[in-house]
């Protein structure tokens, strides 16, 4: 049984370690900052209440994402919100991309937002959350092969999107 101090410390670690990635994940799923923030808040609130059930620290990430996905499903049971234009958000400070790179990033953001959820979600799990294909398969309850197919198609569609919009030479170098 956790003491209150241990519980607080453990929660603090979880919040610091995973809140940013969970927010990005939620943001890409629902496309709205206020909703994404609520989803993350609700996820951590539930995590706080059920912290004693988390036996293995290594399972924390998947435990949190499961809670968040459940919350997301509950929130949007009847209505799937359109993904907002996430390109309006600013770039992170580091690496100052040039105009070509910015154009590619803009196209990619639009492409990711327009992906069907069955393609977007495994891609987010892999790139944002750092899941392996097997972990994605376990989370989504589908086979590893199905996950690999979805990931392949997700990337294919994004590459096609970049190609179709025919932007800079850099884009063609991405293939």
């Amino acid at each position: 049984m956790l003491s209150e101090i241990q519980r607080i410390k453990r929660f603090e670690v979880l919040a610091r370690e995973y809140s940013a990635d969970l927010f990005r994940y939620a943001m890409w799923m629902c496309g709205n900052e206020a909703l994404a923030r609520d989803l993350v808040q609700e996820t951590f609130l539930r995590a706080w209440k059920a912290l004693h059930r988390l036996q293995d620290e290594k399972a924390a990430k998947s435990w949190l994402i499961t809670i968040l996905r459940r919350e997301y499903a509950r929130t949007f049971e009847r209505k799937v919100p359109p993904i907002a234009n996430l390109d309006t958000v600013s770039e992170p400070e580091s690496g100052e991309p040039g105009p070509d790179e910015q154009a590619e990033v803009s196209l990619l953001r639009a492409g990711i937002a327009s992906l069907e959820e069955k393609y977007r979600e495994p891609l987010l799990m892999q790139v944002v959350m750092g899941y392996s294909c097997q972990e994605i398969a376990d989370e989504l309850g589908i086979s590893k092969n199905a996950v690999m197919t979805q990931l392949f198609r997700a990337r294919q569609q994004l590459k096609e999107k970049l190609g179709k919009d025919g932007t800079t030479g850099n884009v063609h170098g991405l293939y």
């Binding site: 927010f23 990619l108 790139v127 690999m148």
Partner: protein
């Protein structure tokens, strides 16, 4: 692993550590070229997905209902470290935002984390005002330094600014320092039931945001006269 299978794996799991896949990356010039292109795409994909996170997200989680009371008893060091984290994240979040006017900035900034920073200040003092202002070549006169309850870096129209909470007789007062920004001295802004006053300084500007229904004008002189360049401290 033949090239078709290699391409499939590249499209599905380009960062796989599977030894067979890793070995295949160097199997031929064709393999190497495909792997390099996939790597370039992954880098761009990561950039696209890496959207900024609100600066006050972590603080908001720690303030969640049911935990609020406990957090208030947490050690000062934790509150201070949180302020630093919130400040650093805030800089990234707003780093390339621009505001149409100082008024727009004040509204955006205060609505974004004004209340949250006041809450943090209520938990205990945090930050070193001389250190933060020192980053702008400035110092706080003792009259101001003695009032600063919390100070941190924050986003500002010119890039980085300072966010302070002053302990005053009439309650906490928020002050933003905006380096290199010109404002109409003593101009008032009304928003959300509170008032803000713009203060023109020699090397920038400050904004004093009063509490609900309280005028910030009483603190004009201390802010105007007590944020001074290093070489002008009395």
């Amino acid at each position: 692993m033949d090239f078709t299978e290699f391409k499939r794996k590249l499209g599905a799991e380009p960062r796989s550590s599977d030894p067979e896949f890793l070995a295949a990356r160097n199997a031929s010039a064709e393999h190497r070229e495909a792997a390099a292109a996939a790597e370039r795409f992954e880098e761009r994909l990561e950039q696209a997905l890496d959207i900024p996170v609100p600066s006050d997200l972590a603080a908001g989680l720690l303030d969640a209902p049911g935990r609020r009371q406990r957090r208030r008893r947490w050690p000062l060091a934790l509150a201070a470290s949180l302020v630093v984290a919130v400040g650093a994240a805030g800089l990234v979040y707003r780093s390339s935002h621009s505001w149409e006017s100082v008024e727009a900035y004040v509204l955006d900034h205060y609505r974004h984390d004004g209340a949250k920073v006041l809450e943090l200040a209520a938990d205990g003092p945090a930050g070193d005002v001389q250190e933060v202002l020192g980053a702008f070549g400035l110092q706080a006169e003792p009259v101001l330094a003695g009032m600063v309850r919390l100070v941190k870096f924050c986003p500002a129209p010119g890039g980085k600014g300072a966010h302070m909470v002053l302990d005053t007789e009439s309650g906490p007062v928020t002050v933003f320092y905006l380096p290199g920004t010109r404002v109409n001295d003593r101009q008032m802004i009304d928003f959300d039931g509170r008032q803000a006053m713009l203060v023109s300084l020699e090397h920038g500007a400050a904004v004093i945001v009063g509490g609900t229904g309280r005028s910030p004008a009483a603190y004009y002189t201390v802010v105007h006269d007590a944020i001074v360049p290093f070489d002008r401290r009395s």
